[in-house]
């Protein structure tokens, strides 16, 4: 692990929801530290609290117990240093691509000229310049996702929280966007928390894969991936990748009654 101070620190977070007269524990004593510029992926079965965790970090939900810190300060509501990309893109359908990208710049009172040029820059970054004045309804799924990415990037957040951003895309588009995301990340480092249900995706993108378990939602396993490895097709087809994938796969699909083991990085590979 790194010796750098934690950019994101989740400390003993428990989240319960009222369910009629009962309470439902979505997250049970979850602790995660994420270093500056780290790329962390989270995988786990449906309902294990991945989105809940992200919403807490985004400031859209508050933990029932424990606390979430960003840059050492407790999270209170959303903030411009945390960009969020939702699974359903959540573009504003009545705004064009450009207006969508400018949305966060307007709310943060960026002057008009700069707003224009920054929007322009990020639209170009995701390759949508020919569609800058198009409405979301005319875009394909992959293009919408790229627009959502440009919109989040435009506010220049130091943290990106991504909830299954490529979940609805076909395999081809997905691989393409994964590579593009890594390319952006390696050139212009940010701290990324990337949620996925796809084991391959989790391994390919991550410096660290966090595997969660459900009922109650908790950290089940943590698998480090050597950040020195270059993420390319070669890696994707390599035996190292296969071994890592095996491990993560096992952790996700053959969860036993183990309790949270955030430090279990030495767990046996199958």
């Amino acid at each position: 692990m790194t010796s750098k101070p934690a950019k994101i620190s989740v400390q003993g977070v428990t989240k319960t929801f009222a369910l009629g007269r009962d309470t439902f524990t979505a997250l049970d004593d979850v602790s995660i530290d994420i270093a500056d510029n780290e790329f962390v992926t989270v995988v786990g079965p449906s309902g294990c609290g991945k989105s809940t965790l992200m919403n807490i970090l985004a400031g859209l939900e508050t933990p029932t117990r424990g606390r979430a810190l960003v840059d050492g300060a407790p999270v209170h509501g959303p903030g411009p240093e945390r960009g969020v990309i939702f699974q359903q893109y959540a573009l504003f359908p009545w705004l064009t691509v450009r207006q969508n990208v400018e949305f966060g710049l307007r709310t943060t009172k960026v002057p008009k000229g700069e707003r224009r040029s920054r929007a322009e820059h990020f639209i170009e970054l995701v390759g949508l310049e020919r569609f800058a004045d198009a409405l979301p309804k005319t875009l394909s799924g992959g293009m919408r996702q790229r627009c959502a990415i440009a919109r989040a990037y435009a506010v220049n957040p130091s943290i990106l929280l991504m909830d299954e951003p490529f979940g609805a895309l076909d395999a081809l588009t997905r691989v393409k966007l994964q590579e593009q995301l890594l390319e952006t990340w390696s050139r212009d480092k940010r701290t990324v928390l990337f949620i996925t249900h796809d084991v391959d995706e989790a391994v390919f993108l991550a410096n660290r894969v966090i595997v969660m378990a459900a009922r109650p939602g908790r950290v089940y396993d943590v698998i480090e991936v050597d950040p020195a490895i270059e993420r390319n097709e070669e890696f994707r087809l390599s035996p190292e990748f296969a071994a890592l994938r095996n491990r993560v796969w096992h952790s996700v699909y053959h969860q036993e009654g183990r309790t949270a083991a955030p430090s279990a990085t030495h767990a046996a590979t199958s």
């Binding site: 400031g59 359903q88 020919r130 005319t138 919408r144 506010v155 593009q180 390319e183």
Partner: protein, 290 residues
């Protein structure tokens, strides 16, 4: 250089909004619900317009046939003739103007009040709790039944007439505005929040545009109610107006005049509805059609 590459800009890809509206790629389906079903009219081409015309001609033909067969109906020429007279002496224009003024004022006030009230109800639970029972209650009362009360309370000038039209338009519009605000997608609001938007911005830049389709549907329904209430409103000692003219004609079994009144109301209502439809197309064109 660009990161997420420029796939979108590959040659041969149609520019947006020019030819095919839907250039669906891989996952272009979107599971967001598109608020009220838009008019199915979008799927119709020029040919159905011909069908519409043929249908009108056929309808008039059948009417004529019935009239000729001895039913208690004026023939189309009689009606046209009466329309000519009424236009000639200015009666029709005066009546139409009087009715139109009432409908426009009542409808205008109704929607102008309904939209903010609908927003309040949708946005603040307190407002909803306070206002909703009254709206539900008045909704069950036909505007006609309000007339005696309106006359006693407001006299017999324009006020009670406009009031009942106002009420009809208001009730129709307030409910759909409220529905629109309540139905705004949560993730849309969250997306705005994480982009730094505070309540006022979320309201103006997310809630208002997102509920516009509902509001416009409400306005169209409200307009329908306003016209429907007009004739009833003009029962109240009116001196002119299409509804008044028809009631007056009823006393003399003057069927052609009644027909002229009916057709005038129909045409005026239709024209106003088209204007709203046009506004709807302009303002809600961003919606995905299914």
């Amino acid at each position: 250089m660009s990161v997420l590459d420029k796939r979108g800009a590959r040659p041969g890809h149609p520019a947006p909004g020019t030819t095919s509206g839907e250039q669906a790629g891989s996952g272009s389906r979107d599971d967001r619900t598109t608020a009220p079903e838009r008019g199915r009219s979008s799927g119709r081409g020029r040919f159905p317009l011909l069908l519409n015309a043929a249908s009108v001609v056929l309808g008039v033909g059948i009417w004529w046939a019935f009239a000729a067969a001895g039913f208690k109906l004026p023939t189309p020429p009689e009606v046209v003739d009466r329309a000519g007279t009424l236009i000639g002496d200015g009666t029709l224009a005066d009546d139409a103007l009087a009715s139109l003024t009432r409908v426009l004022i009542g409808f205008g006030l109704g929607t102008a009040v309904a939209i903010p009230v609908g927003f309040l109800m949708g946005w603040y639970g307190i407002a909803r709790g306070l206002i909703e029972p009254w709206i539900q209650f008045f909704r069950t009362i036909p505007p006609l039944a309000i007339i005696p009360l309106a006359v006693v309370a407001m006299g017999i000038d324009e006020t009670p007439k406009i009031f009942v039209i106002f009420l009809a338009a208001f009730l129709a519009c307030v409910i759909s505005t409220f529905q629109g605000v309540v139905d705004v997608d949560r993730t849309m609001i969250n997306a705005a929040r994480v982009l730094g938007a505070k309540d006022a911005t979320i309201f103006a830049r997310v809630v208002v545009p997102a509920s516009t389709p509902f509001i416009l549907v409400g306005m169209r329904v409200g307009l329908g109610s306003a016209w429907a209430t007009l004739v009833a409103a003009e029962l109240i000692a009116a001196q002119e107006g299409l509804g008044y003219r028809m009631q007056n004609a009823q006393l003399y079994y003057d069927l052609p005049t009644i027909f002229v009144g009916l057709i005038s109301i129909g045409i005026l209502g239709l024209l106003m509805d088209r204007v709203l439809l046009l506004a709807e197309r302009k303002l809600t064109g961003w919606q995905e059609r299914r």
